[in-house]
């Protein structure tokens, strides 16, 4: 048993313990195949619901297929589910005493938040892969070749990771599984209030302002641009929509800069 005494040993154990906690998430999935089924069905339902129900009524500005327009929005929606799922899991651990057990153990202190965000990254990749499959089935495809496509997915992953730290912090702050569960439905209006499903052009001014500055919109716009999907806006645009890639990177950096230290402090604080 290597000790946590040296900085190098601590770093190694933070990594190893983090991996053990990622493995925990896989173990949970294995016990609950229903979750995997739900994860498989969810994108299909979304694609059908939005693609065919909304798609029958919505005209894409500048022309183009609504389902091509929709998929970047759904990718953004999946990306933004990160903070909610991490928050629920973190709050669950905190309210059930699992967090206290971790804290009373001689394990690397920072492994828990790193493990939790790492595990979410893994489940997020899985969901994204399923969503890509669903998209390809209904006729969506990237048009600009390998590099821009990879860049789009990379943006989603970076933003997802940053968002999962928001989840760690909020989960540690609410500490209560019921409260966390009650907050989950708030995710939907947050995603809807964007350009993900409908163009923002027709919204009233104040709402359009919120939608244009919503990071969901920046991610959606960036993916549309990189995939070559329809709905890339033109004309007089809010800054995040005129520079969507830079906006996503800035959002990610800002979220990480704020929520990583906040989460680590909340985790290591021993006031209670």
């Amino acid at each position: 048993m290597t000790t946590l005494a040296s900085p190098l040993g601590r770093l190694r154990w933070t990594f190893t313990d983090g991996l053990t906690l990622v493995g925990r998430e896989l173990g949970r999935l294995r016990q609950e195949p229903g979750q995997i089924v739900a994860a498989l069905i969810f994108p299909a339902v979304m694609v059908v619901l939005f693609g065919y129900v909304f798609g029958s009524a919505i005209r894409v500005p500048g022309g183009g297929d609504y389902r091509e327009y929709l998929m970047p929005g759904l990718f953004a929606m999946v990306t933004f589910s990160a903070w909610l799922s991490v928050m629920t899991r973190t709050a669950g651990d905190a309210s059930r005493g699992v967090m206290d057990r971790f804290r009373s153990m001689p394990m690397a202190r920072l492994a828990v938040p790193f493990g939790q965000t790492g595990a979410d990254l893994l489940t997020g990749l899985l969901m994204l892969a399923i969503m890509v499959g669903a998209g390809l089935l209904v006729g969506w495809q990237p048009h600009h070749g390998l590099i821009p496509t990879a860049q789009a997915f990379l943006l989603m992953i970076v933003l997802r990771y940053a968002l999962s730290w928001v989840g760690v912090y909020v989960g540690l702050a609410v500490k209560n599984e019921q409260v966390a569960d009650a907050m989950v439905p708030l995710g939907l209006p947050f995603t809807m209030l964007s350009n993900a499903f409908v163009p923002t052009g027709g919204m009233p001014g104040w709402l359009r302002f919120l939608a244009d500055w919503n990071p969901v919109s920046a991610l959606t716009a960036a993916s549309r641009e990189l995939f070559g999907n329809p709905g890339v806006p033109s004309g007089d645009l809010a800054w995040p929509l005129a520079h969507p890639v830079a906006a996503v990177l800035l959002w990610s950096a800002a979220l990480l800069a704020v929520f990583v230290p906040l989460s680590l402090r909340a985790y290591t604080r021993r006031g209670r």
Binding site: G97, D100, R103, S104
Partner: protein, 314 residues
Amino acid sequence: MADPIVVAEGLHKSFGDTHALRGLDLSVPRGAVCGVLGPNGAGKTTAVRILATLSDPDAGHARIAGFDVVRDAGEVRARIGLAGQYAAVDDKLTGRGNLRMFARLYHLSRREAHRRADELLERFGLMDAADRPVTGYSGGMRRRLDLITSLILRPEVLFLDEPTTGLDPRSRGEIWSSVRELVADGTTVLLTTQYLDEADQLADDIAVVDHGRVIATGTPDELKATIGDRLDVVLEDPAALPPAATVLNNLAGAEPAATGADRLSVALPGGGLRLADIVRELDRAGIAAADVRLRRPTLDEVFLRLTDRKEAVR
């Protein structure tokens, strides 16, 4: 006696306006079972959280095996186990999966982790349920899994925070026998409980905590001796209660309490009174007693006397 393995000196802790601990002192010898007894809100859990490095005291010190719980928290954590009121295990994993995960987090190698998990499951009778998710466990099984999870590293000190609260009598018995087994191995146990029979059954020493302070310590017998023996009298005729109370008051020098329509109970001064004297005095007053009994007080009575609360603790 050897150096105490758990020492707390003058622990203070407040949450806003609530003073959870107001100068708590505690000392547990190596290998002993110390029962920390107190009503809800007395500060038991706060004390355990500080000793287990989950919370820092506002003032005072605590040491586990010589290591300060604030300064040397890492050393402390390598020597303790903590099992709580709620089962702190992952519901979604199997029993075996939980033990393996926590063993890995205790930095056992993969092979050691698997071996230790099996060993603990076998020894504490959970092998049959090892591959079922914890969601399907009974309350008692869950609590036992929580308990053995805290044993992975063979801790020198085990903190059990109300280990049987909410369990049925059979599951309580199972937890008790597990704890006895650990004690036979030499583990020091600090047990908080609001069940007095639990402390009576398991603890060598008891610390009674109220309002964030230890108000009495001693073995269960010593604590019982502090309030003297009890005399219980059951009358044949409830109408004889007032005269019987007068007789007992004269004998014991204390006001007897009516414990029912036809029965009285009174604390006796240390020694001196014999059963025969009591029966003769009652007889002389023309009072017919169905039953007269001298007995040791229960811990409940000690506890109520010490904490001076009207309501019973459980």
